[in-house]
Symmetry: D2
């Protein structure tokens, strides 16, 4: 039916993606269960823990297409968890009761957790790909607009000029840090679970650790040092990572929204006919992707808190906290997939209006150059005095609505040190971009080749 | 596909309900749009704001079954919002361009917000019904076990006896307060929106306020004092209400979980074959509903925070915050529907083991009666002295593993004041239930007839 | 030392107020303990539950100035809770061991909870006073600028004109709803606690309910229907209320921040020399109060979630959740006091630049009147066609940088229906304010006299 | 006055520590400002950016003891930020206006952020030391109780035996992961800020990057690739780290609370006279440290969400989000210091009752060995059949209140495969500890030497 926005037929592709929804779908999750049971049979057959004949028969029947999902729903509603249902269906498919060797020594949560880690691996893969594309798009913008002046804004007040490339590079630096975080957390997080009822593998008389090692090798996951059924820092870490990533996309979307304001008009989300239009206000160009990004990441940060909450698990198998992950983890990934998609869309097609940027710099008749002037005057008349003087002249310029340069050139305590051309140079934004370009280069130089 | 647990084919009926999913489904939401456009046409036709002929034609075509949902998806993905798509489809259904009078003077958010309020009305209706049933079940338990002793626990330590009915009545009192809250918030929240682009109804030359009043009357909603497109306290209030309700269900599930512990065994969730069983530990009786309740309400409290976040809207139509509601509101309702359903299930079929309750009271050989003893001795030997003395004797009883009564009866500073029978009376739990019954009666007396 | 921003000597008065800090101070909290013990002695003396002589002696010594706070700190660190320390100090002050009748039948949490409710009462009193002042300030702005046009903004795009008074009135309506919420929650929340170890008052042999009733009457609090030591909906409700209130202040501060942008310049926070100035950019006028409001309320909404979490209490006295309230409740009140103070400051001294508002309306050469034009043309050429036509003309006007009026007047499909003067009227913002004034009046009419 | 629990005279040492409070105190923060201004003068003097004489004079006067904190408070309340006040005081201390070279080219946020990073460095140092001690204590427990049976619990139901050392080792493994996370985030996070008004260092005509590099070297911090005034992923990452750490301590405290239950009694927080005692129930042994841990970490996880929120910063210097960090970061560190202290206290003095653990295993007359029995019977009668059979026998054993072993030995389908001694072996917990010891060894082997 689609009660959630993520699974909505109408909104689903705006707030998420098919690829990420697939990762967390009933089908894919159940397929992972089957894949794990299959790998377990292979390994246990190889180790002689279960009969080779049983292993072969189980492997042969571990076929997702043969799982009856409606039956599984009924089984799950009765039992509370789907694993026993899957195992029982696999068992029934096998001849001669050989299926009873399926799921040997495993517990429900072993399969569920390992499947979740495999879904996380797929989900992080999608995230990583988007991060790469976003990094490329930001790098291209940083490179192209390395020297394009835009007013820097502090507390939403025009401050001093920077370059648009610099602005993009500050965000690019964060994206690169996220990629570093992702690389660091992967080996810690992509670790399977196989421990039996309370994690001790008591259910397997011999070859327990070998089974665990073999199963993880088969699935391409790390082997756990010890069971983690109720020690969930790695799952919560994934939530925090998504939350951190969301924060950066939120910053990006905030800037785009602000720059798209009618009164600012410096950049635009890519145009698509009808997109971002209003049913009644045809002149509008709404920052529609930025809206979706903002909303998605605002929810994901609360998901991160929920996943931290899920860590407060009791004893060897938790009573409620675990299920928090079931709700939250798929949503956090799905919403982030939407936010990443929208961010890519914005960045890969961003319309940049360098002229508007320049026009906005000039909006205050030079006031935004006051720091430059203050710094330029400092050596002549003392920094604090220059500060106070320029501060007063600026207020006068605002009051009289006259260019700052004119008032500076008229002031006796200033023009005895610097003549008008020198003051004009101080007032030229292009001369006050500081290390914008150098910093862009520093960030670009660190990119993976 | 069902990437979320709410829309999962496998888990959906565990974590939510069909009825609540229907409320927030694409179909119901779109049906509300159609219903509102219909009501608007009726009212505007009646007021002569649009031609009667147009009104009739629009009303005739406002038929949810004729909306092409696939087309609507495409339109929504292009425009970012579904309303224009619905209006354009309705328009196309009408003859002679009469459909152009559809949506007259309205803006996208008018329709969306009003539809949301109508969905909230339906959602709150379902919540209210469940609250009523939960209240009934709690009242029945409170009444039935009004005088059944159970040990009261403080900091998870056995403290003094209370009754199981008293325990239920404390929660019942909260449920009744929630019903009061619900009654108070309904007239504040169930208010529609109709204001046009920026809420001022500038789009309707004459009859604007009459249209607004008529539309709300037609839909059975309150008329807003002023537009609330970006003033979202009432939506967030619903989120807070659900969060508060969740807190109470969380408390209930916490107690059930703790009382179901193997070492405690005082109550059990209703038995259903296979339910709460483990694939490997046949003896277990898992508090499976309580797990689901715990998880759902833990997420809903984060949803409440997200809805508070959504209040920080900009100007006349917000740029991102509004969409937070789209994500969170349906989920909060759907998860609460699941938590309410599970709570009803638990309460309506709760197995109560009064014998186990009594056995647990006796577990400490009388130590839990120490307060009674202390209070009883106070008048004779001074309260603080009695406190210190009993405190020491209790520690001795623990050390010697002997009944408190024996040690009390042996102690010279005690037995000179009270003989063994008197001390035995002090040590009898049934004599130390205080106002448990009276308080149960107070709560029951306040129930709506 | 002041490690928190709230208790910082440097920042404390920016982020909170002395009055609210006092409410939650060690001194006031301890004074409440003493006041409650005093009231309890009075009532129990009157009822003959404790000797009149003891009651008198206790009352005589219930004097906050005689509590040794350093000793109390040591006692608290040892015991974990301060109540026993206070009682023991009071006891020591009384002659002839009469102090042993102090705290008769009470438990630590009775005193703590009742003190908290008394602090909440004081805290809500301060909040209410600020709400009243904010309401007055908003009402004055709404009244004064009832008809002053400002551009309405949707998705940060200029949409259609509204009035500044209307803008203020939308927020005022929310403030009034908050006052209604406050009035509704007060009787529910301002209820004391007196139940003994597990809430059943078993510790008082006779006159238990009379003591409870008398104590609450003495303290001016409501009598609880039943104990609520672990049923904390009312405390969490206060947190939600503060969170909701914060949402509205957040919306206000968001708008002020946006209107104070250099490129917008429509309103300013009150000027104070040096305030909001930068050490290097003398021309800036920072929305400094708005920053503090934004930050405070962002934290308070997380506090609301934490208080919902604190509801998941176990059994008769919770093991951890209760202490969440100890941390969060004082902070939520203190931060809100700061946010309210800053909001009052902003609203009571807000500088409004009506000329700048008008200048911004004209910024788009009439594009913001497109809806008016569309609506005006609708009756002549059909609404949907008018929409599409005006949409195209607007894009053309942007491209050519020419006034919308000129292009409209030139267009053959338009000028055959409306001449230039008629079109000019359609393009005049003053003619498109809709029900702005009427809605302001509706809100003002609902104000308490 | 101490309105917050952290700065409370009464509660401060329970919920935090002096050392951590000092890190975030007004004094230490201001001392960092002075230290940074001093380092800046040294570097800029060395580079010839400011006169050597000025550098010497500034360095000579950069003395925290000469800062007038009351004056600073007044300056801060006026300006909104304390940096200008500090600089102006330093300036006033210097002779001959040489102090005007102080703060050369810096902006308020440069100093504030760099100070914050230095405070974070100190704070993480304290956290790291506590983590080390906690790791040691857990390792000692894991080693000592490597083979001590305790019942494993799943869904709060007794499941199968594990060892107490295993239980501790699962948490130890998480603590070690946290130390790895800490090591990974330090070089990313411990990076200073020096960029001037908008981060571009435009304020320094020559030697800008050299100043930045030199300043960071002087302070022992990393040099930023580019300014991060509004790109706050590293600050939020610290919040997430503290939240993750909190989750693990929460899990620990949850288990301690549950094991300390009267009905369980397997471990106890260290005894201190009067600690955890109740004013009315002398027999109680409250898990008081666990309560404080639970509460602190529940709040810190919401702080993590707030810090993620603070990432949504606007343009080059944010308007509100930054100040969220001011509120939240000190509190998160202070509360975690309290939680870590309490955790150390619990772990370093934990009383472990191995006999009680064994008694609890026997509580169910062998039912918890059902999995062992099932696994043992599997090879003889088929796993699924064994499962169903044992499941039924267990229910029978519960009903008849008889030992499982008796019923097993009586059952014809079982005793034809295994005799009573063989079944008794299957029922012995010591024979069903699985890889508990091996896994303990795996975790211990990975510890840093």
């Amino acid at each position: 039916m689609g009660a959630t926005i993520i699974d909505s037929r109408i909104f689903g592709n705006i707030f998420s993606t098919d690829a990420m929804r697939h990762v967390w779908s009933d089908e894919n999750r159940t397929a992972k269960y089957v894949e794990i049971e299959r790998a377990l049979a292979i390994v246990q057959g190889r180790l002689g823990i279960i009969p080779a004949e049983a292993a072969d028969e189980i492997v042969r029947n571990c076929d997702m297409s043969r799982i009856d999902m409606d039956k599984l729903r009924v089984q799950t509603e009765r039992i509370g968890y789907p694993i026993l249902g899957v195992v029982s269906q696999l068992n029934a498919l096998c001849r001669d009761k050989l299926g009873e060797y399926c799921h040997w020594g495993a517990t429900t949560q072993d399969i569920t957790d390992t499947a979740t880690v495999m879904q996380i691996r797929e989900g992080l893969g999608l995230v990583d790909a988007d991060l790469g594309a976003i990094s490329d798009a930001l790098a291209a913008l940083a490179r192209r607009y390395r020297d394009t002046p835009i007013i820097g804004r502090s507390n939403l007040q025009q401050a001093i000029p920077v370059t648009f490339g610099y602005k993009m590079a500050t965000i690019l630096a964060a994206v690169e840090r996220h990629r570093e975080r992702l690389a660091q957390l992967r080996p810690r997080v992509l670790v399977g679970e196989f421990g039996g009822a309370c994690g001790t593998l008591a259910s397997i008389e011999r070859g327990a650790m070998e089974t665990q090692a073999g199963l993880m090798a088969e699935l391409g996951l790390g082997q756990p040092l010890i069971a983690w059924h109720t020690v969930r820092d790695c799952i919560a870490e994934v939530g925090c990572f998504l939350g951190l990533l969301g924060g950066t996309l939120g910053k990006l979307s905030m800037d785009v929204k602000l720059m798209m304001q009618t009164e600012v008009g410096e950049v635009y989300e890519p145009f698509a006919h009808g997109r971002g239009s209003s049913s009644t206000m045809p002149q509008k160009r709404n920052p529609i992707s930025s809206c979706y990004i903002h909303a998605a990441i605002s929810v994901v940060r609360q998901h991160a808190a929920a996943l931290l909450d899920a860590m407060v698990a009791d004893h060897e198998r938790s009573t409620g906290p675990w299920e928090i992950e079931w709700i939250v983890l798929p949503e956090a990934f799905c919403l982030m997939a939407g936010a990443l998609k929208q961010s890519r869309f914005v960045l890969e097609g961003l319309e940049v209006d360098a002229q508007a940027m320049r026009r906005n710099i000039d909006l205050t008749h030079g006031l935004v150059m006051s720091e430059a002037v203050m710094m330029g005057l400092g050596p002549h008349i003392g920094r604090e005095f220059a500060h106070d003087l320029v501060y007063d002249i600026c207020r006068e310029a605002v009051k009289q609505q006259r260019p700052l340069l004119d008032l500076l050139a008229e002031h006796p305590q200033i023009n005895k040190h610097l003549d008008r051309p020198a003051l004009a140079t101080l007032c030229d934004p292009a001369n006050y971009l500081g290390q914008s370009g150098v910093m862009v280069d520093r960030v670009l130089a660190q990119l993976a080749p």
